[in-house]
Symmetry: C2
Subunit: 330 residues, 2 copies
C-alpha cells in the first residue's frame, strides 16, 4: 500500500492539510513542524500522487515533443538538447513517435502543458490546438509561436567567410526537392549571397534530392564525376556533410588543402567527423534554450511571446576551411 499525506498526518500528529502545506513549503506552517513532517515523509518514503495533484492543480509540468525524423543526426541532437533544457526547468519531457494528430490527442489526455512541433509537420498542422504549441522552422501561418533561424543570413555568413579566405568558386550542396522551407531558405540564401559577390553560377548548386547522408554521398560522387571543381563547398546539413566528406575522402581529396568544406548545423558533433568541420548556424544549445524558454513563457501567458523569433547564426571555426593557396593548413 502506498503512503499518502494522511498517513504522514497520523504519524506526525497533525492534520493532513498541514502536511500538504509543509511539503509545499508553505509559510503558513511553523518551520519546526515543517522540518519534522518533511523528515517523517522522507523516512516513510512518501511519494506524492501525481494524478491527484494534477486533478486539483490543472498543471502537469510536462512538455510533449512530437519526434521528427528518426533517422537524422541533427534533429536527434536538438531533441536531446531540448530534453536537457527542459530538465533544467521544473518540467519534464515526454516523446511521442506517432503522427501529429494522434500525438496531439495523447498529449491532451495527459494534460501536458505544452507541445513542441517540428517544421516537418507544418502541413497537416491544425489551425487551432487545445494545447499551447511551439513550432520550430520557418514561419508559416500557424497561430503558434515559431522559433526560426536566419537561414539566409547563415548562408551569407558562410559565403562571406569563404570569400574572405579567397574562394571564388563555391558550391552549395543540399536538398532542393523538399518542401521543407528551411532547406529552401538555405539554398535561396546561398544564391543571394553569391550574387552579391558577383560569383554566382547555376551549376554551383548541387541537388542531393534528400537529407540523408547517403544522398549527400551520391550527390558528391556525381560532382566528382563532373568536370566542375569548386574550391569550397557549403553543405546544407550535418548528414549531407557526412556523405560529402565520405565521398571526398574516398577520392583522396584532402580537406581543407584540396577543398574547403563548411557545413550548416552548428552542433558539437561536427568536431567528431573525420575532419572537424567548420560549421554555421544557430548553436543547438541556443535553439533549445529559446524553444524551451519561449514555450514555458507562452504557457504562462500567451500574449507575452512574439509570434516569430529568429535566431542569429554564427560560424564555429574548426579545421575544414583554408585560405585559398594555403596548401599546409588553416
Amino acid at each position: 500500500m502506498t503512503i499518502t499525506i494522511k498517513d504522514l498526518a497520523l504519524v506526525a500528529g497533525v492534520s493532513y492539510s498541514t502536511v500538504s502545506k509543509a511539503l509545499n513549503d508553505s509559510s503558513l506552517v511553523k518551520p519546526e513542524t515543517k522540518d519534522r513532517i518533511i523528515k517523517i515523509a522522507k523516512e516513510m518514503g512518501y511519494e506524492p500522487n501525481y494524478a491527484a495533484q494534477r486533478l486539483v492543480s490543472k498543471e502537469s509540468k510536462v512538455i510533449g515533443l512530437i519526434w521528427p525524423t528518426l533517422e537524422r543526426v541533427a534533429p536527434s541532437v536538438l531533441v536531446t538538447k531540448i530534453n536537457e533544457e527542459i530538465s533544467k526547468s521544473s518540467y519534464s519531457m515526454i516523446l511521442s513517435v506517432n503522427p501529429l494528430q494522434t500525438s496531439l490527442e495523447m498529449f491532451k489526455r495527459f494534460q501536458v502543458d505544452g507541445v513542441i512541433i517540428f517544421n516537418e509537420y507544418l502541413n497537416d498542422m491544425p489551425a487551432t490546438s487545445p494545447l499551447p504549441c511551439l513550432t520550430y522552422g520557418v514561419k508559416k501561418d500557424t497561430p503558434f509561436p515559431v522559433i526560426d533561424v536566419n537561414y539566409q543570413g547563415a548562408m551569407n555568413d558562410a559565403v562571406t567567410y569563404l570569400y574572405e579566405l579567397g574562394h571564388r568558386d563555391i558550391a552549395f550542396i543540399g536538398d532542393l526537392t523538399t518542401d521543407d522551407e528551411r532547406q529552401i531558405e538555405k539554398a535561396a540564401g546561398f544564391k543571394k549571397a553569391m550574387k552579391n559577390f558577383g560569383i554566382y553560377q547555376e551549376d554551383h548548386i548541387l541537388d542531393t534530392k534528400g537529407l540523408g547522408w547517403y544522398d549527400g554521398y551520391m550527390a558528391t560522387v556525381r560532382l566528382i564525376n563532373s568536370p566542375y571543381r569548386p574550391t569550397a563547398i557549403i553543405s546544407a546539413s550535418y548528414d549531407i556533410s557526412a556523405g560529402l566528406i565520405r565521398a571526398l575522402r574516398q577520392e583522396n581529396y584532402m580537406i581543407p588543402n584540396d577543398i574547403s568544406v563548411l557545413s550548416y548545423d552548428n552542433i558539437p558533433q561536427m568536431a567528431n567527423m573525420e575532419i572537424p568541420l567548420t560549421s554555421v548556424g544557430a548553436p543547438v544549445e541556443e535553439i533549445a534554450q529559446a524553444m524551451v524558454q519561449t514555450l514555458t513563457r507562452y504557457i504562462k501567458d500567451p500574449d507575452s511571446v512574439p509570434a516569430v523569433q529568429t535566431l542569429t547564426p554564427v560560424i564555429t571555426e574548426r579545421s575544414s576551411c583554408a585560405a585559398i593557396g594555403t596548401p599546409t593548413e588553416k
Copy 2:
C-alpha cells in the same frame, strides 16, 4: 471551461453516475439512455479527465519506453514497431530519453503500467523496481522477464546458409569491444558454427570497434587493404552493413557476384539498401509483438510470464547472397 460528466448529466437529465456507466458501456443502464448519453457526449465534445480516471482506477494504460541509442537504425525501427504494437492494444507509449534512473522516476510519477528497458542499460539496472519492467537482450540476473533472441542460432543459420551456397571462406564483421552481450553472442555463434563446419580461422573475425555505420565502413576498408579475401561476409547489424556495403561498392565489388553479404537484423529496411540485403534474425514485428504481449501479460499477472523468452531467428532472402561460382545472380 472543459466539459465533465456532470455537465452531460445535466443536459441528459440523469445523474452523473449514470453518465459514467453509460460511457463505460455498463450493462446497468438501459441501451436507449446509453445511446442518448453517448450522443450528447459526442455533441458536446466531452473528453474524460485522465487524471481523475487514474486517481480512482490506479491504471494509466500507458507503457513507458526508455530510448536506447539515438543514432542507430535497427533500434529505431524496433521502437517504431513497438509503438505500433502498443497502439493496437489499449495502451499508449511514451518515450523518455533520460538516463535509466531519471526515466524510471518519471515513469513512476506518471504511474505508467509498465516499462520497457533495453539491454544497453542492464548494467545499472536496479535489482528491484516499483514498476513492472521488461528487458530486451540477453538474460542476466534481472528479476524481470527478458525477451531474448537466439543470436548464436542466428549465426549458425547464417553460416549454414552460406556454406550450402558453397562458401567456405566466410568472414564476420561486428563489434567485439562492447560489453553488450548481444554482440558477444553473435560473434560466439559465428565462431562456433564455423568450427562446426571445420572452416574457422582467427582472422575471419573483423572488429569494427563500434556499432555505427562508419565503424563498419572503416573496418571494411581495413579488410580491403589486407590480403584476406573472403567470398562471403556476415555482418552483425544493419548499421555496420550500411558501412560495409558502402566500402565494398566504393572499391567496385559487385554484390553478390564478387562477394556475398548477409546481415543480422531482420528489418524491412534491409530491402532499401543499395543492394537489398539477405538478413537473419528474429523479425522486428515478432520481437515487438513478443515484447508488448509479454509486458501486458506481466502487468496483469507477474507469475503468468516466463523469465526468459528466446525468439527463433529466420533468414529473409533478398539478393545479396549467391552460390559460389555463380557470376550472374542468385
